[in-house]
Amino acid sequence: MTRVRRRALARLIGATLVARIVAASAPANAQAAPPGGHEDAAFDFMNLLSHHGMHDIREESWNAYGQFTYISSWKLPFSAPYTNANGSINSLVPDAERSFTGTFTLFFGVRLWRGAEAYVVPEAIEERPLSQLRGIGGAIQNFELQKTGSETPQIYRSRTFLRQTIGFGGDRVEKTSDPMQLATVVGSRRLVLTAGNFTVLDVFDRNSITWDPRQTFLNMAFMTHASWDFPSDARGYSWGGTAEMYWDDWALRVGRITPPQEPNQLPQDFRIWEFYGDQVELEHDHVLLGQAGAARLLGYRNRVDTGRFADAIAALEANPAENAAACTAFNYTSGNATAPDLCYVRKPNVKVGIGINLEQHVTRDIGVFFRAMYSDGQSEVDAFNPADRDLSFGAVAKGPAWRRPFDVTGIGYATSWISRIHAQYLAMGGVDGFIGDGYLRQAPEDVFDVFYSVNLLRAIWLSADYQYLRNPGFNADRGPVNVFGARVHAEF
């Protein structure tokens, strides 16, 4: 057993122990709800209408929210004995760089009939990633960069979906007025069907501690599992349907979603019976020592048109002409004439993974979280990150304790790593959608992230963030990298 595999096994055993401890805690008839939901004291459009008696914010027939977020990241120079070796193209550039994203989003929701809601969410983005979004595996320094864009603002429709809730009784559960959630009262036993254009993250792998990356950690590793290759287009959105069955403190979610036509590209493949991503998640909510928490088990199975690392290596070994520089089919434009390439071997492949997601409030305003996932690691990234396994944990605190009720601070650690065959492919000079330095000395990619957000006027947050990134691109030869970040976030 290699050192990396032993370390991976130890991490998963640790994760399992934590899961068992939490699962053994007293169950509760409470459904985890984002603590960062709608605040009565927040200054926003719906509260404004409500306070003037022009809107029923407890039982809504419509709502409208908006947000603006600008994130700037400064990467300091770092050491790297080689960059883009042998014509490979996916290294993080060792020079100092600045990256930014700006997003503007409007959230509209309307109740159509009993239990039915429709949502439309247009969004605009402008961005400049570090090194053209190359060279970092599961710990990209700004989560917004999962959405492709350019330095010229681009407007697109991020979500258009219908949601139907069918009640089966149970206790009263109050749904607050929030973006993509109309305020109402539902039963704790209900079926929720969602269909249309949305992101899988709207339904699966939610975590009320890291509830909104625009409010918490900047690094993408804390947004969801780094190794969950959830089906989506190049902006993180997709089409499909989900069903969520809530039964008191249990929830079961299933969904089938469209993947991209080509890995990591915008066009979607609507042949949903042939190419798809299936997700299933089981959630249990609990109260431990008087504080709410939740445990989730998530599994996925993608059937998508991708290349397997072993097949690409075998193709090169059988015929050296099938190298990365010679490929004319869809590829990532590597010029490495001695490296294998996935473009020769793309065909319908299955990718699977399983992960856990734990959250626990320590006090009303402090919570801890833990995530871990293991994907098979045999085929290339299709939609999200090249990581094959991941683990992350941390804590987030809100500011009532220091009389800054809308301030938020957090500290977290995340690590992700790749499979042995994936590492062999990269070591031979291969590239995937985001990484490939031309050579590889395999190591987990780690990130430590700490932030503080200062609230102004109950609607604007100014954040400072620091990230320490080790082994970018799962390569022990490169880094570490220091990244400083600043964020302006407004909700209205």
Binding site: W62, L112, P122, Y156, S158, P267
Partner: protein
Amino acid sequence: MPSSRKELLGLALAIAGTWATRASAQQQAQGFAVERFYPSAPGGGWMVMDDLGMRGGLGGAVAVSSGYAHDPLRVTDGAQHLNVVADQASFAVALAVTYDRLRLYFDMDSPIVGKGDSGAVGGYRFTAPSFDISTRPDNIVDWRIGFDARLLGGPKGPFRLGVGAQLYVPSGDRGDVTNGAYQSDYLTDGTYREMLRVLAAGSVGRFDYAGNVGFHVRPLDDSRTPGSPQGSELLFGVAGGPRFPVDATGETVVIVGPEIYGESALKSLFGKTSTGVEGLLTGRVEGTGDDGRQTQVKLGVGGGLHPYFGAPEWRFVLAITLCSGAP
């Protein structure tokens, strides 16, 4: 037959040379927003015309619509014809907020299909759009933000007069060059556009009517390119039809009637190739109550009465509107 072969080869080379000369002389036609169907605001009554029925306190409306246009961009130089945009379909979501006699609204149009034929006409090379929703899964065409105000008359009176303004925010560029080839979806001018309109409407007995005349500030002027915008335009339209109650209370009605509307470039007002006129037979079922939620379903079928300048050969549009309060 060696001499014949030489003659044939010479002829072929001459034709190829002529073709190459002509091809090199052709200019690439640039894309633009070919759609000239400008729907009324959510809760606005007719498909294109506005009934100026805003009333009551704070209210809102949301509308979902979808439409298809056949041959909306057919260019000709008199001898040759080319359906540059032969099939165009989209769906739109629109939202409105009303208060008393005022309405603020915005809508976004998402293209579903854009296809046509590429070729050369009148010395210009046209590259047809070629996309569907799978290749453009999240596209939004130019955003429209609008404001309407009723200045004269009551919401159900025999004569209502108002004004409206609309701003189109460009969603991107007219086209781009990919792998050396020009490509356009014919969805945007790539510039801000504004519309200012005077609106009129009324209800006389069981007959409803509406009309408008306005000015479209359109910076794009490609007058030399067949079928392309020629700068700012005059807008006009009229609609009318009877209203039939369909329930005992009379609060649900069906209104059926024609809508005729169009535009003409100011620099060549009512010229043959600078004017488009379209007719649509529209029918709608709507609630007319003053309280609670009202639903409106609209269907329009028609086509180009003067099928130039963006008026399609035929089109259909379906729209469903939910009004909360009393728009």
